[in-house]
Symmetry: C2
Subunit: 192 residues, 2 copies
Amino acid sequence: MYELFFEDIRKKTGLTEAEQEQIRPFLTSKKLRKRQYLLQEGDVCKAIAFVEKGALREYSIDEAGGEHIVQFGLEGWYISDLYSFLTGEPATYNIDAIEDAELVLITREAYEEMLRTVPKFETLIRINITGAYLALQRRMTSTVKDNLETRYQAFIKTYPNIVQRVPQHMIASYLGATPETLSRVRKRIANK
Amino acid sequence: MYELFFEDIRKKTGLTEAEQEQIRPFLTSKKLRKRQYLLQEGDVCKAIAFVEKGALREYSIDEAGGEHIVQFGLEGWYISDLYSFLTGEPATYNIDAIEDAELVLITREAYEEMLRTVPKFETLIRINITGAYLALQRRMTSTVKDNLETRYQAFIKTYPNIVQRVPQHMIASYLGATPETLSRVRKRIANK
DNA sequence: CGATTTTTTGAATCATATCAACGTACGTGG
DNA sequence: CCACGTACGTTGATATGATTCAAAAAATCG
């Protein structure tokens, strides 16, 4: 249990055995079946989830009912509505499983307590958030400067594993396009 | 010197006098005149800048030469090409002054050394990055779900001070639209 | 004041969305 | 293991919102 989770932390912070055992009691695990919600808009996000196995998506819904995927979560990724988690406000995102999944959960209380008592945990959070910020900034910039074809090409290059496991209309949603438009872009690419 | 900077840190981490004096020697200051670059695409970002006074913008340039503003920096904000700063890779963003400005600079060496020796500094970084990440995520989501009129209305509500001080075409760029389109949207809003 | 920058307006064009229909793949219960 | 229903992907026709290009009006600066 938690193998991938601790391996990830070790890589990022050089965690010792002792520190690992200090952290372990704060963790819980959870299994999710395909289509099952981890978090629903309006509920408070009670935990940050680390994906040990499976695939999830995080998305918001507009007034017209359209889903907009903001993030995928595969093995080795963290996923949560961070704003809701940190503030206790109702979540504005939904998270559900695209495949059966196994998660490691860090609750708010565990998060606070570890920040207080495990210095390496603050380092971990800093590194993780920094990485997430940089990735989001790259994506934001790409959305603004690049056309859909370029963004799709970049996506399949950066996340070939996601392309294999996730339906195309979800990738379209992530890229900010309709399924029809992405389908046409793919056709254009193929005819080259 | 550095009044706003230290006040900001105190608010976020409860810095003591002693800690403040521990940090001070790591800082340098810099003045920028309107239109002057702090960072140019291709150069390495040598420092994170905290804006004590004035206004800056950070933007990328597409193949067609179009500027896309990713962030403004007014008093109390940090600004940098964080990826370039952390990795030493050439910057992909430009930063220049919209108004004459006074900055507090944290160089890479200062950053690393303070992370090692001043625990509150890591807390500061964590808090700052978390805030930046949440803001960016809100913006990203809004770009995807909301139309330009809604985003513009949200912008003038959230950043009335920016609207006053920054030319409209830069706000258009920040919102991901052309100056012409934003002008027309404003006209539509006025006719209500 | 003249020069430059900024904003506005108009007309043509383009990329993407929308709506609708169809074919295909998938997995689920009988 | 087959058949049916749902989810998924593709294609076509049309609509729409934003961009582009050009030019003029307005504001700002030295």
